[in-house]
């Protein structure tokens, strides 16, 4: 109450008039803590399944071993990204780009089709908040008990309960941070260095920072992230239309709302189906009243759908007063699922996914870079041949050692001279070799000539990389 009074501070000092106060409202709104009530039902179970699956993947994946090494390891210092059978190099950056484009397009596709599915079931903010809420309920009790505890004056019991809750939250957050770092540095060895308190500066920073972010976002900020920080919550409206699936209260059926006995006939009382129990408001994790219509705060979690269905069952009314529907359906018009935007998003998504799948399936784990020597354009050998020097970088991106052969095409009667004919490159290494090409000037075009280097593994002809370069001769 004291905070509320401070917003009329100007008036208390007697300076600005009441009209001034209307023009200069308080710059800040007091946050009202949301105590989402526990909810059971179809969609709550779906979200629980989502949480278990996503958390399971997150916490378990770095522990998985694959052929004697960590299955998923993003080794930043070595710039090698291991995924099971595959090792990606910075040269494979196109795949990461494609994955990000696919992720963005999926967001568009699913939002146009089914509204905020991501927000309600898959977003890390939702998933971790759900876990933190679950812990909070186990320790403090459900909504009513939490509110009572917060109102109660500080006591030993309150301190113990709150302290225990934060202890569990922090423990989980640190484990989350540890897991996060475990994607970038071998997680088993990381465990040893954590126990010995010998983590490197970056490991320590990211472990604590990611842990702190988890604790702050899922424990404290919660719906504030969705309402004030998340850009997706704001630009999603651009993807909505009247055929997009939303969670909505059926005003036609519900109004006028009001309490009544289970035995009473609502029609006789002049009432709609809504008994105004406010349970839909109590379960809402963002603290809104869905009965006010579509709001940007709604993350589409369907908690109110489960809660209302439960009430309807108890009242012996049909379910679905709050339900997944579309604006068109609410107005009694037909809903079109296959709209042009859904089809276009879907087709583009499909095309990109196939392209990436094809790219990865046919990816060749060898690459060749050709760097022409720049200090001299060309040399003349004592035999009168024109000589160009190149530095080749042989990238063996495979997990086995290979010996390669080099061939050169595009030039007539070219002599290839290597200082070391044995082009063996150990697994996962880059080797630099210098090569000289010698050509009779008679066979050259004046100035620059195109030349093609081809590197092929001797034990596997499918491991081939080709690179174009220039051979410079005299201008004549």
């Amino acid at each position: 109450m004291t905070r509320a009074a401070s917003s009329t501070r100007g008036a208390a000092k007697g300076k600005p008039s009441s009209t001034d106060r209307d023009l200069e409202p308080s710059l800040y709104a007091k946050r009202q803590k949301v105590y989402p009530r526990e909810v059971h039902g179809l969609f709550a179970s779906l979200r629980f399944a989502g949480v278990v699956a996503l958390m399971g993947i997150y916490y378990f994946l770095p522990w998985l071993q694959w052929k004697g090494q960590q299955a998923v390891l993003l080794d930043l210092p070595a710039r090698k990204f291991h995924f099971f059978e595959l090792t990606f190099w910075p040269q494979d950056f196109i795949y990461l780009t494609s994955m990000l484009i696919i992720a963005a397009l999926s967001l568009f596709f699913f939002t146009a089709l089914a509204g905020r599915l991501w927000c309600g079931y898959a977003c890390p903010q939702t998933v971790w908040t759900e876990v933190f809420l679950w812990i909070e309920r186990r320790i403090e009790g459900d909504r009513g008990k939490q509110m009572k505890l917060d109102r109660a004056p500080w006591s030993g019991r309150k301190a113990w309960i709150k302290g225990f809750k934060h202890f569990v939250w922090i423990a989980l957050s640190l484990w989350t941070g540890y897991t996060f770092v475990g994607y970038f540095t071998p997680i088993r060895e990381l465990g040893v260095s954590v126990l010995a308190l010998q983590t490197g500066p970056w490991e320590t920073f990211w472990l604590l920072f990611y842990g702190f972010a988890t604790y702050g976002n899922a424990g404290w900020l919660r719906e504030q992230v969705c309402i004030y920080m998340c850009p997706y919550a704001r630009f999603q409206s651009a993807m909505f239309d009247k055929d997009t699936m939303i969670i909505s209260y059926d005003r036609n059926r519900g109004e006028p709302r009001g309490p009544r006995k289970k035995s009473a006939d609502p029609d006789a009382l002049g009432l709609g189906a809504c008994v105004d129990c406010t349970i839909c408001v109590q379960v809402c994790p963002t603290g809104i009243d869905i009965r006010n219509g579509l709001q940007y705060e709604c993350i589409g979690c369907a908690a109110c759908v489960d809660a209302c269905d439960d009430v309807m069952d108890r009242m012996n009314y049909p379910r679905g007063l709050i339900r997944y529907t579309t604006e068109n359906a609410l107005e009694g018009k037909p809903t079109r699922v296959l709209r042009p935007r859904v089809v276009v998003y879907g087709l583009v998504l499909l095309a990109l996914l196939s392209a990436v799948a094809y790219g990865i399936a046919t990816r060749v784990p060898v690459d060749l870079d050709v760097i022409r020597d720049r200090n001299t354009l060309f040399r003349e050998t004592p035999e009168g041949l024109i000589e160009n020097v190149y530095t080749l970088k042989l990238l063996n991106m495979d997990r086995a050692d290979h010996r390669y052969s080099l061939s050169v095409s595009g030039l007539e009667d070219v002599t290839v001279r290597l200082d070391d004919a044995d082009l063996t490159v150990p697994a996962g290494e880059v080797r630099e070799v210098t090569v000289r090409l010698q050509v009779d000037p008679y066979d050259l075009e004046p100035g620059a000539n195109d030349v093609y280097f081809t590197l092929t593994a001797l034990d596997d002809e499918s491991l081939t990389a080709e690179q174009e370069a220039r051979f410079v001769g005299p201008r004549r």
């Binding site: 905070r3 509320a4 401070s6 917003s7 501070r9 209307d22 023009l23 409202p25 308080s26 710059l27 800040y28 709104a29 007091k30 946050r31 009202q32 504030q224 309402i227 004030y228 760097i371 020597d373 200090n375 001299t376 040399r379 004592p382 020097v389 530095t391 200082d419 630099e432 210098t434 090569v435 000289r436």
Partner: protein
């Protein structure tokens, strides 16, 4: 921080910055009032008949971000340079960071080079690990002139053959890299005249057994023995003490075509290998000497 031309500019930055930061605090503090959330006020404008703008208040915790920013700014300006010529109590500077990186690299890689330095150059040239490290040094410091394959270019000697301008013994190579070399061939245009120039050129070509007119070469020989013999020697095998090239092999530093050779004699040549000892340090020079020795030794094996 002596980057300011006078004390005035330093204060020109300090005073507005400090006043600005300090003024932020009352600005934020006296607007801290929070109201219970509810229906947001409207701005009082409407467009297109019914489009209105809400004046939604910021969430209350946002206020703390402003306080944190102010405190962060103050702490930062105390610790790091930012206030005019005040360098900050941590004494941070980009030059210092660069020095720290250098020291770190020295600490980490120094012992490896130290160990190599204890090894004799001929032995070191057979150490594959050392040669791989040396290859990277070569690419950084030598390849610009001598080429990435070390076969040189016109005016820059080939390091893979066994011809040496200044001697191919390990100690001589080390001396070349550490202190540099300057080879000077004076121009003989005026002394020789056009015909003399042609005659001497023919004689020089004859020294390595190339096609020449022996009558003309015989005339050139006389002039050679007057003018060239001091450096290139009576038999034309050169002198590694002053970097005079051997004229009897088929290696031509500036090109072996007849007119190019004539140009060399007429105009003279100046070759300059810059000294590398001071900035590379003894241990790296030692390692590079072994690498150059190793390149030439490779050639002999082939």
């Amino acid at each position: 921080m002596a980057d300011f031309v006078s004390e005035f500019w330093s204060w020109f930055i300090i005073i507005p910055t400090v006043i600005g930061i300090l003024a932020m605090f009352p600005l934020v503090y006296f607007n801290r009032g929070q109201k219970q959330s509810g229906e947001a006020d409207k701005m009082g404008h409407s467009w297109d008949e019914d489009l209105e703008e809400y004046n939604n208040p910021l969430p209350g915790w946002w206020l703390n971000l402003f306080y944190i920013t102010i405190v962060f700014g103050i702490i930062y300006l105390i610790l790091y340079p930012g206030l005019g010529s005040f360098g900050g109590v941590l004494g941070w500077s980009s030059t210092q960071r660069y020095q720290n990186e250098l020291e770190y690299a020295e600490e980490r890689y120094g012992p490896i080079f130290e160990k190599y330095q204890q090894t004799d150059i001929r032995t070191l040239a057979r150490n594959d690990d050392a040669m791989r490290a040396a290859e990277r040094l070569y690419a950084n410091y030598c390849a610009q002139c001598h080429g990435s394959d070390a076969r040189g270019a016109p005016g820059y000697p080939n390091l893979r053959d066994d011809n040496w301008l200044w001697g191919g013994e390990p100690e001589q190579i080390r001396e070349t890299i550490a202190n540099g070399r300057t080879g000077v061939m004076p121009g003989w245009e005026d002394a020789l005249g056009e015909e003399g120039l042609f005659n001497v050129t023919e004689y020089v070509l004859s020294l390595s057994g190339r096609q020449h007119d022996s009558a003309v070469a015989e005339k050139g020989k006389a002039r050679y023995e007057q003018l060239c013999v001091a450096c290139h020697g009576p038999d034309g095998t050169g002198n590694t003490a002053m970097g005079a090239p051997n004229l009897t092999n088929r290696t031509w530093l500036y090109g072996g075509a007849q007119k190019t050779v004539m140009e060399s004699i007429a105009k003279g040549r100046q070759g300059h290998m810059p000294p590398h000892g001071e900035f590379l340090g003894d241990s790296k020079v030692h390692l590079l000497s072994a690498y150059v020795y190793h390149l030439s030794a490779q050639h002999e094996q082939q």
